[in-house]
Amino acid sequence: MSARNRYFEDERLETVDPRTLRRLMGYLKPYKLQVILALFLMAVARLADLLNPILIMIAIDKYIANGNLKGLINVALVYLLLLAISNIAIRFRVLVTNKTGHNMIKNIRKEVFSHIQKLSFNFFDSLPAGKIITRVINNVNTLQDLLQNGVINVVIDILTLFIILIIMLRIHFRLTLVALSVSPILITVVFLLKNKIRLAWRDVQRKGSNLNAYVHESITGMKVTQAFVREEKNSGIFRELVDLYKSTWMKAVMLSHSVFPTVLVVNSISGILVYYVGMKYLATGLVSVGTLIALGNYVWRFWQPIINLSNFYNQIMVASSAAERVFQVLDTEPAIVDKPAAIDLPEVKGRVDFKNVNFSYEEGVPILKNMSFTVEPGETIALVGATGAGKSTIINLLTRFYDIDSGQIMIDGIDIRDVTIESLRRQVGVMMQDSFIFSGTVLDNIRYGKLDATDEEIIEAAKTIYADQFIREMENGYNTELNEGGSRLSTGQRQLISFARILLYNPKILILDEATSSIDTQTEILIQKATDVVLKGRTSFVIAHRLSTIRNADRIFVIDDGEIIEAGNHQELINKRGTYYQLYQAQYSKVV
């Protein structure tokens, strides 16, 4: 079973793997040109910006100090020009990186989603729906930050550091060394801090999602809470969670806000050193006022890229665990694929053979044991037996949702592993016990069985299985919007809709898993009639719970512990006075 957690338990996260990162960077490759363009634009913008302090230095030393008005105006105009260039470059850089970044993410998400469509049931059994959704949406989004801005920014930040360093060294070599002598302190402190900060925020995130999960559950379960008079206790739990959140929040926020003060103090030390040493040079005329100011300016600009780089490190940490999850999905091979030489299953007549079929979901826990039977075209088979006896497994195997361990399953004498999955599933239809409703109109939901069906066809199908009346009674009839899961419909109504869906799909072989839930009597009668309609004229397997269905079946297979222990029609089995007879007696004898 996969990871599960309660409101007071945190979810675990993994660590960094360089291979994951390399693979992630591979996604940048198709966008080489755009990346280079973005880099270029950003370099232009940054360079234009970095020249400012020099301009001011020139203005002070050459023109203001000497009273050269014309020179001053020229410098000011150059400044204006650089400002314009820088911002035009920024504008295009934002466009290019965003387009590339969003495109890249769109494609990764598409890749993941398409891949998931190919995966077999064992994947969906192994991972809860919520986690799969998180991988397609959230984890992929996390990658965006890194791919879109992170990589480009890191190059630019490193570049910036170099440019600043070169400019400073050219302005004044020794003073630069003096000014930057404190940078190792800053780098160490900031990197240490950043790691703590990342962990602290992660803690906040977890506590926050625990809190939200608790509130969510409180709201959905409120009726139970009130009926069982648990309000006070829950209020106390909520208070604890909120307090815990607050203390983790305070810790993270204080850590985060200690970076800037650190920079301030370190910067002031650097400033002190520059002026202290600079004063001596000033006296000897080796340095000017403008130089000192410019150096101070550059030193200040030197810290930001360093902080950015420490952020980048954090970004990688987060992105790489997200990437790992995404890749894990992409690396999952679909368990069931077409054989290289698979053919299309020809139009099915409906004969089904199971020959010595063995199957288990988990190794060592056999579900079907050496099962063999033959079903003739057009026959209706009712499968009867306790939960877990293996009834639903027969469905899963006939449609190749899972592959068998040994033996053979044949349709019209053709092994189902030799045909394409698509052609198989096009002709073998399944109606599940829980009738899934998609968000969309009633029409859309029925049309899922046949995408090109006209409205008339759909209405016709609904009429045939007795769903027309209740659909028309809804406020917008066939165009009534249903929500996902179809919660506004009763169980019986959902079943009727999925009957119409399967009728349009028109499979040659039908597998029907009857719902166990009790339904009010009127709907129940409709469903009985609808069942008769859909079963007519095709080979069908019914996991039957309804007495009428069982009795109308051509043959009944009584399944126990993965084996067929009795077979025959209702009358035969009753006469046999075996397991079926006992089941029947137990369930119905009490009534009369």
Binding site: I73, N87, F113, I133, I137, V215, K223, I272, Y275, V592
Partner: protein
């Protein structure tokens, strides 16, 4: 403004934190001005005035300023965060507690997602306002105020020149936040659409696969994915337009300062150091302009969020505890409905229902979907109050009983089962203060849940619910029956409690329940004849009215609706020869 005032009330408890935050904030702003001033003195007096003796003091000043400012930044942050966390947590707690007092009706009308967003998104807006919002708002004025005082003393003219570009900055900042807001909303909307497309695909994967609709699903996904891309890019384009504009106009201030300031230095109107000081304060003048847009947006957002939160807090629970509740030593379990009607607006749910259950009686209720079965039993423990008529327990109107006592004496198994993400054991003991393991096992046994629970690896300690192991519908129902049974309440309500359980198990549960039902008054809602036939009275509801009532035999003899249901369910059986034989034999 009214909303802001109400939020303000919540801040009273923490006002000293706010006061301290303001003190540190003022200190922060004032000290931020110091390095600029020191530089000015350095340039004008030390360097150009050759007064070298001032140097050590000034450099010490640099360091002190940075240190004090660092401390005040930390102090300001600590107090303002503490302030806002306190305020928001109090608000959250009162919202949570208030939600717990709301009735079933409220939860039928409000979607969980909507209520959740009050607790998350709306609270976040208030957090931002009470934290950075309020802090930046005051800082904006402080910066403008203090820099104005200092700089206008040096040169009012240059101050005005420098501020020339500010109106543009403010203008574009405002426009930007106005434009980006709807774009960001569109991104969020599409994000949730994309999300639900994926969600639906994954949850419905069995249907997708069995209809072989993978390609159709991919097309659907691609459409939403493309649209998400488009909207993201549209939002980025707004960034791309305004960000450079803002930068440019901010830069323009430097240009003016460079040009005019430089000229003034040349003309001797100001000192070089003063000009540098101007330069170093420039960001303090620009920041308020840049923040303006975000600030206006934040205030608007907070007002909307505040409205949404207070609209819930202002909603009085429809069902409240009586002021002087009648105290009963023990509830025996007599239940009576006297001419009870229930209406939601103009919709009639129940009309003139009267019934009487003596302690230990079993009353069964049948009827089509929407006939009012669940509404009827919901009146017993006051999940709803009737519009007309009275519900009495032990001859006392339930409205006069203490709500807590009343509900403790009614054990319901609800139609839509809900289990919490806790262990099975914790779910079973949800409504009782304590229960021994034996009691838990016994309740599970009667509910037919013992076997499957004990088969699980972790047994009663298995975590279930949304975040735990998925139980089947029938299994969930059985756990929730156990949860009701362990209360040992004199009144038991089974609302379609075994609908998802297979018939065999249902039979077993029924048998063991019948043994306890003797001890408590029981209300059963069911569709199957087999579940109701032993009841002392069977009531058939139709559109909120009682259509038929009586015992199984009486109703069969009447050949009315009950008889019809009976025939529909046992049509086959009635024709069955074996049964006929059996009847002959017996």
């Amino acid at each position: 403004m009214y909303i802001l005032k109400r939020i303000w009330k919540y801040t009273q408890k923490y006002k000293w934190f706010f006061v301290f935050a303001l003190i540190f904030s003022t200190l922060n702003v004032v000290i931020a001005l110091v390095p600029g001033k020191i530089t000015q003195v350095l340039i004008d007096d030390v360097i150009r005035g050759d007064n070298i003796s001032l140097l050590p003091m000034l450099l010490l000043g640099f360091f002190l300023a940075a240190s004090i400012r660092s401390l005040s930044i930390m102090g300001e942050r600590y107090f303002i965060e503490y302030f806002s966390q306190g305020v928001v947590n109090d608000l959250k707690q009162s919202l949570y507690d208030h939600l717990q007092r709301q009735t079933f009706n409220f939860y039928n009308q409000n979607k969980t997602g909507e209520l959740m967003s009050r607790m998350t998104g709306d609270m976040e807006a208030i957090r931002q306002l009470t934290c950075d919002g309020i802090l930046n708002f005051t800082k904006m004025f402080f910066y403008l105020f203090f820099t104005f005082i200092v700089l206008s003393k040096i040169s009012l003219k240059l101050f005005i020149f420098t501020m020339l570009a500010s109106p543009f900055v403010a203008f574009f900042a405002l426009r930007f936040s106005k434009k980006i807001k709807p774009a960001a909303r569109r991104v969020r909307e599409q994000f949730s659409r994309l999300n639900s497309t994926v969600q639906e695909n994954i949850i419905g994967v069995r249907i997708v696969k069995s209809f072989h609709r993978e390609e159709f699903e991919m097309e659907k996904f691609n459409r939403e994915n493309e649209e998400f891309f488009r909207r993201n890019f549209a939002s980025a384009s707004i960034w791309a337009k305004y960000f450079p504009l803002l930068e440019f106009f901010s830069g323009l201030s430097t240009f003016f300062l460079l040009l005019f300031g430089g000229m003034m230095v040349i003309n001797g109107e100001i000192q070089l150091g003063e000009w540098v000081q101007f330069n170093s304060y420039l960001w303090m003048l620009l920041m308020p302009m840049l923040m303006l847009g975000g600030m206006v947006d934040l205030i608007n957002r907070t007002i909307v969020s505040g409205e949404r939160i207070f609209s819930i807090l202002d909603r009085e629970p429809e069902i409240k505890n009586p002021e002087n509740p009648v105290v009963l030593k023990e509830i025996k379990g007599e239940v009576e409905f006297r001419n009870v009607s229930l209406r939601f607006g103009s919709e009639v749910v129940l009309e003139d229902i009267s019934l009487h259950a003596k302690p230990g009686d079993t009353i069964a209720i049948m009827g089509a979907t929407g006939s009012g079965k669940t509404s009827l039993i919901n009146l017993i423990a006051r999940y709803y109050d009737p519009t007309e008529g009275q519900v009495l327990i032990d001859n006392i109107n339930v409205r006069e009983l203490d709500l807590k006592v009343l509900r403790e004496n009614v054990a319901p198994v609800m139609q839509d089962v809900f289990l919490f993400s806790e262990t099975i054991r914790e779910n079973i003991v949800y409504g009782v203060d304590s229960a021994s393991m034996d009691e838990i096992r016994e309740a599970a046994r009667i509910a037919g849940a013992q076997e499957f629970i004990e088969k699980m690896e972790e047994g009663y300690e298995t975590v279930v619910g949304e975040m735990g192991v998925g139980l089947s519908g029938g299994q969930k129902q059985r756990v929730s029956i156990a949860r009701a049974l362990i209360k040992k309440a004199p009144i038991l309500i089974l609302d379609d409690a075994t609908s998802a359980v297979d018939m065999e198990t249902e039979q077993l549960i029924q048998e063991s329940l019948e043994k306890i039902q003797k001890k408590c008054t029981t209300f059963i809602i069911a569709h199957r004849i087999s579940s109701v036939r032993h009841a002392d009275e069977i009531i058939i509801l139709n559109n909120g009215r009682i259509l038929e009532r009586g015992t199984h035999e009486e109703l069969l003899a009447r050949k009315g609706q009950y008889y019809k249901i009976f025939k529909a369910q046992y049509r086959d059986l009635l024709e069955d020869n074996i049964i006929k034989e059996k009847q002959v034999m017996s």
